[in-house]
Amino acid sequence: MLKAWKVAKEIGRGSWITARHFFVNMTFHTLRLFGIKTKRRGAVTIQYPEVRKVLSPRHRSLHRIRPREDGKPSCVACMLCVTVCPSECLYVEAAEDPDPEVQKLPSKFVVDLNRCCFCGFCVEACPVDAIRMDTGEIRLAARSRSGLEVPLDKP
């Protein structure tokens, strides 16, 4: 008998909790529908394509090559990022730079997003702070595999 009472109590508590959520959220939804500002929202949902969550500054998104003042890539094609990359997704071809102060520049700098695991090791390894992962671009989808091989040397 005591057990039955306890079970009934818990059943009641369960629907009390969900019903409370329902009515509280409905109240906020209704208030906002009629244009009344409320501190809380009825739902925690972020309606993604229209509304974006602010990315953390440490968030690792699509790579970019930081340009120099003259617009050329600041990469010196030292191959450190290629060496450190655990998923072997970077492909760099070095070429001679006309500027005598700079030895090399990449004639080709491709990151294969099919393989990239966004570990950020390349950013850590770069001696001249040329590669960064701070574009905030997270919609990385393409219709073909080749569409995911992103050339970074061309702006």
Partner: protein, 359 residues
């Protein structure tokens, strides 16, 4: 004669349209209600020319999707039965709505038209019988699929429904002892009276224990989540493993129809059907002496509205239940049915009899 046939036809169509529309929008209500309960928003993307209306077009989008899917039947299934099963389970539930009174009889062109498709004199038994026949849809589906999991699901479902049929019937025995007739129209008419001079004579006040047993057993009859033995989404997928497209849609639709039928039955039997408390044919007569006259059409509108609101409330309650409780294990279902609900129903019958004997 012709007029009678015409009236019946119109009533059949209206009742069917009411039921199907409500079932269609219950899919929307289910999504939205569960979303709001869980602090989400729910389906809101379906739009017609950019008009979203809180996702109200979602049921139509779902229906169109179901319609255009391939009508697939596995080669190892038994074709005729495979086709028959969803039709059976849909038909028997839909036909139960025939007996439900939507409002008080109205006067139309000099004749009295009851707002009920047919006033059966054993309507309670008729609805119970139709709900039991719904089992055949599940059984046939499991058998025709020639799939072990489907068969397990359908047998578990049959076992569950048969056991809860007992509790469901037993919970109504007390009610039948109290009410003077088995016709739903008569039962609703009777519930217009007053208890102790102020309380409406609704079934819930006459048979509170009966209502609890009825509602829990009815929830089991709808075979939705806390009692979803036949489906078992997490383990065996259930009796419609081999169904897709519109046939699967019919099974899903049947679930919602069962929710509506249970709501309508709970409303009619325990919550006064179309009765509004203290509203007579001429208007409100309050027990504390007040009086508010109303036109006959206003009374009818109020009564139909009252019936609809009660049904909607019970639909809401069932969806709340479905999204609150985790599912039972098989032995727990059988325990609840045979060791709790059937004895409680028997106690209810006994108590009702004792009260009658004492009076």
């Amino acid at each position: 004669m012709l007029a009678d046939v015409l009236i019946i036809l119109v009533k059949v169509v209206l009742a069917l349209v009411w039921t199907l529309l409500l079932a269609l929008f219950l899919t929307w209500v289910e999504r939205k209600e569960s979303a709001v309960m869980q602090d989400r928003i729910g389906a809101n993307r379906a739009s017609v020319f950019g008009l979203r209306l809180f996702g109200l077009f979602q049921p139509f989008a779902d229906a169109i999707k179901m319609l255009f899917k391939e009508d697939f039947a596995p080669t190892f299934s038994q074709r005729a039965l495979h086709w028959l099963a969803p039709t059976l389970s849909f038909f028997f539930v839909a036909v139960a709505m025939v007996a439900v009174p939507f409002g008080s009889p109205i006067r139309l062109f000099g004749r009295t038209v009851p707002l009920q498709v047919v006033d059966l004199n054993a309507a309670v038994l008729f609805v119970l019988a139709m709900l039991s026949l719904g089992i055949y849809g599940i059984l046939v589906a499991g058998w025709a699929s020639s799939n072990r999991f489907a068969l397990i699901g359908s047998l578990r479902g049959a076992a569950q429904l048969v056991s809860y049929e007992v509790a469901l019937g037993l919970s109504l025995v007390g009610l039948i002892m109290v009410f003077p007739s088995l016709s739903l129209a008569g039962i609703v008419e009777f519930q217009g009276g007053l208890l102790f001079g102020f309380l409406p004579k609704w079934g819930i006040f006459l048979q509170p224990l009966g209502f609890v047993v009825f509602f829990i057993a009815g929830l089991a009859e709808t075979k939705r989540v806390p009692f979803d033995m036949p489906e078992g989404e997490s383990e065996i997928i259930g009796f419609y493993t081999e169904y897709g497209g519109l046939k699967f849609g019919l099974f899903m639709f049947t679930d919602f129809l069962e929710v509506i039928v249970l709501s309508a039955m709970a409303t009619t039997l325990f919550f006064g059907g179309w009765q509004v408390p203290w509203l007579g044919d001429g208007g409100f007569v309050f027990p504390w002496g007040g009086r508010a006259g109303m036109a006959p059409w206003a009374v009818t509108v109020l009564r139909v509205l009252s019936f609809n609101l009660k049904v909607l409330f019970f639909c809401w309650l069932q969806i709340l239940t479905r999204w609150t409780y985790p599912r039972f294990r098989y032995d727990q279902i059988m325990d609840l049915g045979w060791k709790v609900l059937v004895p409680l129903g028997a106690v209810n019958v006994l108590a009702t009899g004792l009260i009658f004997a004492w009076r």
